[in-house]
Amino acid sequence: MPKKIHVQAVINGQPMDFLCEPRQSLLEVLRDELRLTGSKEGCNNGNCGACNVLLDGRLVNSCLVFGAEVQGKAVTTIEGIATAQGLHPLQQKFLEHAALQCGICTPGFIVAAKALLEKNPKPSEEQVRHWLAGNLCRCTGYDKIIRAVLDAARLGS
């Protein structure tokens, strides 16, 4: 049996404990151990952004973080974006603009866009496109995603 490491972290605002193997990525921990399957595995090598989460507020690819590395840190996943009051404005605008088709890339785009709007609440179209350059979508052609993000920014999310 591979050795397991005990990790304590705050996931979506909740203190949590989990066990993981050293070679397990944060993405695997989230999906397989914690059953938070909102974060998706696209490429598993840092190219597509489908696995995006916030790690202590910074946008990261969770497939490029070892689970063991999040000891003592705060992780926000797509499951932590909506509130009891309802969807996050970004989620609402993705629906309104039909900014998704298969939806595999969507959690990553929403987490990434949320990180952008927190840093820059009124980004230009170019800034949105530049920020989202690390997120790939095989379906939408991006325009609807960009419009949804700009519209959410207009709403003041």
């Binding site: 050795k3 490491i5 050293p22 840092g46 946008l59 490029l64 973080v65 070892f66 000891q71 690390g134």
Partner: protein
């Protein structure tokens, strides 16, 4: 699948002891290492996470001391640092080109150097800026080595077992100096350099002639290359177009390009000439404009 261990030491002494073990690998931002390990392209029995060591997270500038850039400092901190942007713009250029936001959050310049890719975007600017690598050894001593001597081949460095890159040291910039890094890729973003060029230069007080220049090339040799003759040819010159042309030719002559899927050797050599001149013009403009 082979078993791996993980350790996150808080001190350099612990870290060098752990890194001396067989199969130990240093882990900073992990953007190269995690993929290599998980795809079994690099052997690892022990991952030594260095991000809890204070010395490796230091980023500070002092007019006398220069820039101390901890080996585990992530790219976004460097690219956003006002002193880096102002005083070491070539380093800022290179670092800002590494990946998208997600990679910037994690990848470090120390890791970029230790991964030793010939096409690494941060290394030519470090070399041009005269950076040194400060290395901790298991016996507790510190070695200082110029960055151009750090990489010994693709994916290989001078680091021995238990040795660890602590930080990079960049000397304070000379008066009337600046720097620039340019790379060529077939698209706008998110790609690996076909050729990269880093330059640093200083002008005399009335800004009529070059005092010194250093030029370094990426992706045209087994390691990033300092091309000393090309820089030396600019000393004392007014940096007219003919001077830039001469430096570009000397850089082309010292490049050791190969042909691969990103470009032929001839194409790379051509790009070296184009980029050397462009990077020199940018650095010159930065001195004059700032």
């Amino acid at each position: 699948m082979k078993e791996i261990d993980y350790a996150a030491p808080a001190t350099l002494t612990e870290a060098t002891a752990l890194l001396a073990r067989k199969g130990a690998r240093a882990l900073a931002g992990g953007t190269d290492l995690i993929v290599q390990v998980r795809e079994n392209r690099r052997d690892a029995e022990l991952l030594v996470d260095l991000k809890n060591i204070a010395e490796l997270n230091t980023l500070r500038f002092d007019a006398k001391e220069g820039l101390v850039l901890g080996a585990a400092v992530p790219c976004y901190r460097i690219a956003e640092h006002p002193d880096v942007r102002k005083r070491y713009p070539g380093l800022g250029d290179g670092v800002a080109l590494i990946g998208g936001v997600q990679i910037q959050s994690r990848a470090s310049v120390g890791g970029n150097l230790c991964n030793a890719s010939p096409a690494a975007d941060s290394i030519p600017a470090l070399i041009a800026l005269g950076a040194s690598a400060v290395i901790a050894t298991p016996s507790g001593t510190r070695d200082l080595i110029p960055v151009e001597k750090f990489c010994t081949g693709p994916g290989r460095t001078i680091l021995g077992p238990g040795e660890l890159l602590v930080h990079l040291h960049l000397p304070p910039p000379a008066p009337n100096s600046s720097s620039a890094y340019l790379r060529f890729i077939p698209r706008k973003e998110m790609d690996i350099a076909v050729v990269g060029v880093g330059v640093a230069l200083a002008l005399n007080d009335n800004r009529t002639a070059c005092v010194f220049a250093r030029i370094a090339l990426g992706a045209v040799g087994p390691t990033p290359l300092l091309v000393p003759e090309a820089g030396a040819a600019l000393a004392g010159r007014p940096l007219a177009e003919a001077d830039l042309e001469r430096a570009a030719e000397l850089a082309q002559a010292q490049a050791l390009p190969i042909s691969d899927m990103r470009g032929s050797a001839d194409y790379r050599r051509h790009l070296v000439g184009v980029l050397v001149k462009r990077a020199l013009r940018i650095a010159l403009q930065r001195v004059k404009g700032g």
